[in-house]
Amino acid sequence: MKETPLSNCERRFLLRAIEEKKRLDGRQTYDYRNIKISFGTDYGCCIVELGKTRVLGQVSCELVSPKLNRATEGILFFNLELSQMAAPAFEPGRQSDLLVKLNRLLERCLRNSKCIDTESLCVVAGEKVWQIRVDLHLLNHDGNIIDAASIAAIVALCHFRRPDVSVQGDEVTLYTLEERDPVPLSIHHMPICVSFAFFQQGTYLLVDPNEREERVMDGLLVIAMNKHREICTIQSSGGIMLLKDQVLRCSKIAGVKVAEITELIQKALANDQKVRKEGGKFGFAESIANQRITAFRMEKAPIDTSDVEEKAEEIISEAEPPSEVVSKPVLWTPGTAQIGEGIENSWGDLEDSEKEAEDEGGSDEAIILDSIKMDTGEVSNIGSQDAPIVLSDSEEEEMIILEPDKNPKKIRTQTVSATQVKAPSKKPVKKRKKKRAAN
């Protein structure tokens, strides 16, 4: 579906509001929207909501052989997908530009900053390492995908537990989840992206732009930072030219925001861990059920299946028995077998006659074939010749071989006699009859 274009008055309205330091949802210039983090039942699954932008993250692991030039390091793989439900414009084939940009930024933020210790993912050097795969799905697009995605990724990685492995000499034992408790990944620091949108050639700046603001912005500055105020990645796109002190100011703001967000993440993780330890219920079903009036839950309902057997027997006794299927496969050659005979070719007697008429025409004189094709009236006559076939019996002695160029004239005149119309096709008709006799 095509994206609905932004109207000029909406654009002007947004820009004017920004000039007056007003945002449509009432936030201040440096305010983030509400961030909500919820976890699923499996480890490594989380949904992060930044306002209305929603991202689902899932981490999974697998034992693979390491890369040849990095034999002692595990492999990290990130994949962000823009689901079609996020926005009508996100069709499966159509979002390459934005997708590549977001994926690349996410990779730089998480992989190049070395926030995950890949050496600890090695099991047997050169042979088996853990491949950690982070899948992020954008469920709803209301601006600032990169911030939500980076939060979801780092939260999922912190939440994830991989199976425990022990190496004793040459023996490697992989414990299942029941045998030994799974082990968390070793994470050095948590880089989080903060986006700044610039308007009017860098005069005005907004933190955490929503979807409308993103559409009218001039450029975007993304700073990935951790709570120790270390910049992991910085990217400026859109062609805006920023002054040095603007960039420094943004990085100071980012430092403050990242500290707040990191605290929120730690609280959410601690909460979830507490609930799991106490054996309480956890998962998405719990997190959505209580809040909204539109959410509804029903307890497990036992179904009365006592009369199911009787009903089934009734149905079977009333049903017709299945038709007997006799399958005797005939083996022609190794690899080729035939079951059944198949039924006769029933591709229509009408088409049969047409085909034969053309065939005859072709075999006798090519010209007759052409004439048959040129006169469409001719062809239809052949097709509807059930009655004439019978009549032509009596007309056999009248068979005349006509010159092909006389045919058009004959058909054009109204007074064409039935015999003459049939004449050009007599030969094929006759031959057809003969064929039928043979059959």
Binding site: L56, P88, F296
Partner: protein, 198 residues
């Protein structure tokens, strides 16, 4: 032409699927059908890229939806159903069917009936288990999934895996029909709540 996205998140135990519906909306000329709406279903797994299993489930869901959606009321348009697996703990196809139905209802797509999905598992000693968990599905001898309509509890779609006798099939079907009553009651009550708000 309305472009409406509605979301529903049904959870069968721990299995949850998020569904969104767009439509009736513009359709590409190559895909348009002159006398009815084109229905497209996309199912996204949580981990990895969509593969053959997802394609086959998409087709099953699409066939079920096409049987109930009144496509003739919106010719040359497209109705897109997008499903995202949020967590999978057994009975995934049934959950997807329920999600799709609720999303279609919420989006206001005209339908001749509601439908629901019910999964049935038969274990090695012939006991029937409705709505099995992932572990029960793995250990079962046969797993059968049915899509039933709401008007007469007729069978819209069935897909089965494993070995079972025809008596067992009829038993599972009868049990699924009994279970579908509960699911439809759930639909009714949750829709009442949804529309009582406004």
């Amino acid at each position: 032409m309305k472009q409406v996205l509605k979301e529903s998140l049904p959870t069968n135990g721990d299995t949850s699927v998020l569904a969104g519906v767009y439509g009736p909306a513009e359709v590409k000329v190559s895909k348009e059908i002159f006398n009815k709406a084109t229905l497209e279903v996309t199912l996204r797994p949580k981990i990895g890229l969509p593969g053959v299993a997802e394609k086959s489930r998409e087709r099953l869901i699409r066939n079920t939806c096409e049987a109930v959606v009144l496509g003739a009321l919106h010719p040359r348009t497209s109705i897109t159903v997008v499903l995202q697996v949020v967590s999978d703990a057994g009975s995934l196809l049934a959950c997807c069917l329920n999600a799709a139905c609720m999303a279609l209802v919420d989006a206001g797509v005209p339908m001749r009936a509601l439908f629901c999905g019910v999964t049935c598992a038969l274990d090695s000693d012939g006991t029937l288990l409705l709505d099995p968990t992932a572990k029960q599905e793995k250990e079962a001898r046969a797993v059968l999934t049915f899509a039933l309509d709401s008007v007469e509890r007729k069978l819209l779609m069935s897909t089965t895996k494993g070995l079972y006798s025809d008596a067992e099939l009829q038993q599972c079907l009868a049990a699924a029909q009994a279970a579908s009553q509960h699911v439809f009651r759930f639909y009714r009550e949750s829709l009442q709540r949804r529309y009582s708000k406004s």
